[in-house]
């Protein structure tokens, strides 16, 4: 077989050039993140093809078709893997990017590999954004409505871009088929086209971690002791990594199977409050901190700057050094950005409406029972931008709360409707259990416990 191929394609030189390069010892697992991302992509492709056999891309049937799929254990499991896979892919691709940044592997001569990586990152985000709408449940419907609405802030052509994305002025069945096609075909093909050279360049140039070794070898030094062969030593370690990632994925899909929310209701009769997917929590949270005038900056300006910086990084960063110690500015800026994003994402998590306990808690604690109610129901208006802040303990107790006397506290009067207008404004009132919980907490002295 090998000989047969060799005669025709000079196969063994090709294979040798790919597999026979030495890798420095110790080889870091962090260097396999790109490979792990590719594995998840394959998993997404396989499960995606399977899902496409059952899914009906239409506003009237999409939700039903997923519902039917959920009725069979295997169908449900495949969907769970696909949904978890999307999350895995985002996380892995981000860590891969951070690792490459830390290693300064984007610098000469690997600028093009980095550039293709940026395209792959954007493609991945696009895949999760378009995939989110497909189940046609409330969450996906409204997240897509808000997500596409952001494009309206692009100067001049914004409104038009929104209409192109939605194929009309609202998110409809015509949007669904559009997203379906982009999700299944356009972005997938784009990713494959960008991935081929991305991968080829890595094979051709070797990972940046191998540069030293290659130079030493060229100088005629003996590198035997500080290296190990890619094949089969490193390949084996890579497979182990994939196995771990694969197990994590399957375990996650088993332990936390993907649910299906209520069917999309464009009239929103149940007053669902839209919320984004978790990886957009950072932006979601940022919007709350930005004064409304700066919204275009948060929604269009910052993402545009992020893309420009990512694309241009190999050319902006003129410092030739690869050693972390010699790149204090680059690493400090990146650390700051990552920490900021992580903080925003965490804050976003905290304030996203979760399934709240609606029954009474007799001895409520502020952190466990009270704060979540405010975070879920009140801080959209009474957060950083309102006059009365309910997002911190100090804010809550600043006024409107009389410790030990719930019935005279303005806060209670407002949520019960004794004092009009009843809060939360324009929304369903809090459940009687929640109101009683807040009363109990004030009765107990409104403590910061």
């Amino acid at each position: 077989m090998k000989k047969w191929l060799d005669e025709r394609l000079q196969f063994s030189t090709l294979i040798a050039s790919m597999f026979e390069h030495p890798v420095p010892k110790p080889s870091s697992f962090m260097d396999y993140l790109g490979f792990a991302t590719f594995f998840i992509f394959l998993s997404q492709a396989i499960t995606g093809i399977l899902l496409a056999t059952a899914y009906i891309p239409s506003a009237t049937d999409a939700w039903e078709s997923i519902k039917n799929l959920e009725a069979t254990p295997v169908g449900h499991f495949v969907r769970s893997i696909h949904s978890w896979g999307a999350n895995f892919m985002i996380v892995l691709v981000l860590f891969h990017l951070l690792r490459v940044f830390y290693e300064a592997a984007y610098k000469k001569p690997r600028e093009l590999t980095w550039l293709l990586g940026v395209i792959l990152l954007i493609g991945t985000i696009g895949l999760s954004f378009t995939g989110y709408l497909l189940p046609w449940d409330q969450q996906g419907y409204w997240a897509s409505t808000v997500g596409t609405a952001m494009a309206a802030y692009v100067p001049l052509i914004g409104e038009f871009v929104v209409r192109v994305m939605r194929n009309g002025s609202e998110v409809t069945g015509a949007t669904l088929t559009r997203f379906y096609s982009v999700h299944m075909l356009l972005l997938t093909v784009l990713i494959l086209i960008a991935f081929a050279p991305h991968f080829f360049f890595v094979l051709r140039q070797g990972m940046s971690a191998t540069d030293e070794l290659t130079a030493a070898k060229r100088r005629g030094e003996n590198i035997e002791t500080r290296s190990m062969p890619f094949w089969p030593n490193v390949a084996w370690r890579m497979m182990l990594t994939l196995l771990l990632v694969g197990i994590a994925l399957w375990v996650a899909a088993t332990l936390a199977p993907k649910g299906l929310g209520d069917p999309a209701d464009p009239l929103n009769k149940n007053q669902y409050i839209p919320q984004p997917a978790w990886y957009f929590f950072g932006v979601y949270q940022l919007l709350k901190y930005f004064p409304p005038k700066l919204d275009p900056l948060a929604m269009v300006g910052l993402p545009a700057i992020a893309i420009i910086v990512l694309v241009g990084l190999p050319w902006f960063d003129r410092n030739p050094s690869r050693f972390p110690r010699q790149r204090p500015i680059a690493l400090a800026v990146a650390t700051l950005l990552v920490a900021g994003m992580a903080y925003l994402t965490y804050q976003g998590f905290r304030s996203v409406p979760k399934a709240l306990v609606t029954t009474t808690v007799t001895q409520p604690s502020y952190k466990r029972d009270i704060d979540p109610i405010f975070q879920n129901k009140c801080v959209m208006c009474h957060g950083n931008s309102g006059n009365y802040h309910l997002d911190t303990y100090a804010g809550v107790t600043m006024k409107n709360v009389i410790p030990g006397n719930p019935n005279d506290s303005v806060l209670v009067k407002k949520i019960t409707g004794v004092m009009q207008p009843q809060m939360p404004l324009g929304q369903k009132p809090l459940s009687s259990g929640q109101i009683q919980t807040i009363k109990n907490w004030i009765q107990d002295g409104a403590k910061n416990n």
């Binding site: 931008s385 309102g386 324009g426």
Partner: protein
């Protein structure tokens, strides 16, 4: 030899140009095709649709109705302003298109996402929305209240 070469070079140049021009033209053709295929439908071409009778709309109280759009129902708040005057507001907040809700007790529209507030005419009273709520075509035909597409 000399003469042969001079005739050959322009020929090659012609071929090179030809390859570029043909692939460019074919590419543009498909791009144009995709562009016109994906072009969104023009705004405000939705037909008038009956959403209720006059008696369904007490004066001065916005009432939510649904307009049957392409594959989905669209939320519209209809207000009877009296004397045959009507107002139809699209219920998508102009900030990021969350669905607003009318609160009769405070006589305002509220947006649950970032606290946008509008008055009964859809004008912004507070929060981040940059524009008033979008208006839609509305007509009273006899006893029927008819709603159409968005006014721009």
């Amino acid at each position: 030899m000399q003469t042969k070469n001079t005739t050959k070079v322009p020929r090659r140049r012609f071929f090179k140009w030809g390859v570029g021009v043909i692939s460019g033209a074919m590419g543009l053709g498909y791009l144009g095709l995709a562009g016109s295929y994906l072009w969104p439908p023009p705004e405000n071409t939705e037909p008038l649709e009956k959403v209720g009778s006059v008696k369904d709309f007490p004066q001065g109280i916005p009432t939510m109705v649904s307009y049957q759009g392409v594959g989905v129902k669209e939320g519209v708040y209809v207000t009877n302003l009296g004397n045959g005057n009507w107002l139809a507001l699209d219920f998508h907040c102009t900030h990021l298109n969350c669905p607003v809700a009318w609160s009769q007790s405070s006589k305002k529209y509220f947006c649950p996402c970032h606290g946008g507030i509008y008055d009964i005419n859809g004008n912004v009273l507070g929060g981040p929305p940059p524009h008033p709520l979008p208006r839609r075509v509305i007509q009273q035909q006899g006893d029927n209240v008819m709603v159409g597409g968005r006014l721009t």
